[in-house]
C-alpha cells in the first residue's frame, strides 16, 4: 500500500485508488438520494403550506356585497349580503394568475335558478367595471341585470343566461334557432325542461305579451326598448325552464368569473 507523501506532485501516487473510488461513488449516491428526497419533501411542504393558507379563508373578515338574485324576487329580500372581503384573497383566473379585483364589481348569488349554468347559491360573481354593450357578441353569456322596478332594501340585481341580443320583433324565430344549438341541447336534458313547443308557446303567449304590456306606449314599443336580450332561467317556484325578455338598458355587465367560497366547515 502506497502511503501519503507530502509534496508529491501527482495525486494518483498519493491517494489509494480503491477507497477513493468507493468514497466518490458513496458521496455521489448520497447526494443523488438527498436531492430526490429533498425534492419530494419540498413539494409536500408547499402543498401543506398552501392548504393551511387556503383554510384561513374561514376567518377572513367579511364585507357587504350586492346580491344578484337567481330565483324568485320574492325570495331575495335583502339588498346586500356579507361575504369574505375579496381584497384579502387571491382570486385566480383559469391560468392560476391572481385577478386584479379593483377592475371588477362583485355580486353574491342568492337562489338556484342558474344551477344549470354552473352558478350556485352563494357564489361570488366578478363583473368587469368597464363592461361595454358592444362587446356582447358571442352567446350564450351570463349577465347581471338590474331589476326594472326595485324596492328599497330588496335585491336590485338578477342573473340570467342570455342567448340573443337584438330586436324584440325577431324573438320567436330566434328562439327556434337557439333551441337547436348544441349548448341549448344540454339544457333540454335537465329537469324543468317542458319541451320545445311549450317553451316557444310560453315565449309567445306569456313573455312577449308581458314585455309589450310593460314597455309599449299606445301599442308601440318605443325605440329605447326595441333592442332586447333573450335569456333563460330556471323558475325555482314552478320548477320550469323558460325564456325571459329584458331591454338592453337593464344590463349591468357580463359575468367573467364565478367562485364558490366554502366557509361553512
Amino acid at each position: 500500500m502506497i502511503t501519503i507523501n507530502a509534496g508529491t506532485p501527482l495525486l494518483i501516487n498519493s491517494i489509494p485508488l480503491f477507497p477513493s473510488l468507493v468514497a466518490g461513488v458513496g458521496i455521489a449516491y448520497f447526494g443523488w438520494t438527498f436531492y430526490k428526497a429533498n425534492k419530494r419533501v419540498n413539494e409536500y411542504r408547499q402543498k401543506v403550506q398552501r392548504d393551511i393558507i387556503n383554510q384561513s379563508v374561514k376567518v377572513i373578515p367579511q364585507k357587504d356585497y350586492y346580491l344578484a338574485c337567481a330565483g324568485s324576487n320574492e325570495d331575495c329580500t335583502d339588498e346586500k349580503v356579507r361575504k369574505i372581503d375579496v381584497d384579502l384573497c387571491n382570486f385566480c383566473d383559469h391560468n392560476k394568475k391572481p385577478l386584479d379585483v379593483s377592475l371588477y364589481d362583485c355580486y353574491v348569488v342568492q337562489g338556484d335558478s342558474m344551477k344549470y349554468a354552473g352558478i350556485n347559491d352563494g357564489d361570488i360573481l366578478f363583473v368587469p367595471k368597464d363592461f361595454k354593450l358592444e362587446t356582447l357578441t358571442t352567446f350564450p353569456v351570463i349577465l347581471v341585470l338590474r331589476y326594472g322596478n326595485c324596492h328599497e332594501e330588496k335585491a336590485k340585481y338578477k342573473v340570467r343566461r342570455t342567448w340573443f341580443k337584438g330586436s324584440y320583433k325577431n324573438l320567436e324565430d330566434k328562439a327556434k334557432e337557439i333551441i337547436k344549438t348544441p349548448k341549448f341541447r344540454k339544457l333540454t336534458l335537465q329537469s324543468g325542461f317542458k319541451g320545445e313547443e311549450w317553451m316557444l308557446e310560453d315565449l309567445k303567449n306569456k313573455r312577449l305579451k308581458k314585455y309589450m304590456k310593460k314597455y309599449s306606449v299606445d301599442g308601440i314599443i318605443p325605440k329605447e326598448y326595441d333592442e332586447v336580450i333573450l335569456s333563460t332561467t330556471y323558475d325555482t317556484k314552478y320548477k320550469e325552464i323558460h325564456f325571459s325578455i329584458h331591454p338592453i338598458s337593464l344590463i349591468v355587465g357580463n359575468v367573467e368569473e364565478c367562485y364558490t367560497v366554502d366557509i361553512e366547515n
Binding site: K39, Q46, Q49, R50, I53, V57, F91, G118, C258, T260
Partner: protein, 106 residues
C-alpha cells in the same frame, strides 16, 4: 490554530445567513418562503464548507489540485447565491388564500 480561525469564520457566516433570511422576510411581510427554500439552504450548507476543507487539505498536503477545486467550489457558491438573489420572488409565496374559478356557462 488556522483551522480554528476558519471554523469560527464559518460559524459567523451561518449566523449572518440566518440574519439575511430574517431581513428578506421583513422585506416581504405579506409573503412567506415556499418549501424549496430549504432545499437551497441545504445545498448552500454543503457547498460552503468545501472551500474551507479543501484549503485545509491544501495546506496540510500541498496538493495543487485542492487549490483548483477550492477555486471551482467558490465560483459555484457565488453562482448559487447570485441565482438565489436574482430569483428571490420565486422562493416566496403569498399568504393570501388562493381561490380558483368555477367552470360555468358550459
Amino acid at each position: 490554530m488556522e483551522l480554528m480561525a476558519v471554523f469560527i469564520v464559518f460559524v459567523v457566516f451561518l449566523w449572518e445567513t440566518a440574519i439575511i433570511f430574517l431581513d428578506i422576510k421583513s422585506r416581504y411581510p405579506k409573503k412567506n418562503f415556499v418549501g424549496n427554500i430549504f432545499g437551497l439552504n441545504a445545498r448552500l450548507f454543503f457547498i460552503i464548507p468545501i472551500p474551507f476543507v479543501l484549503g485545509a487539505i491544501y495546506k496540510k498536503l500541498d496538493l495543487i489540485i485542492c487549490f483548483y477545486l477550492a477555486l471551482f467550489s467558490m465560483v459555484w457558491l457565488k453562482w448559487e447565491i447570485a441565482s438565489f438573489a436574482n430569483n428571490i420572488e420565486s422562493y416566496l409565496v403569498d399568504i393570501k388564500p388562493e381561490i380558483y374559478p368555477n367552470n360555468f356557462n358550459q
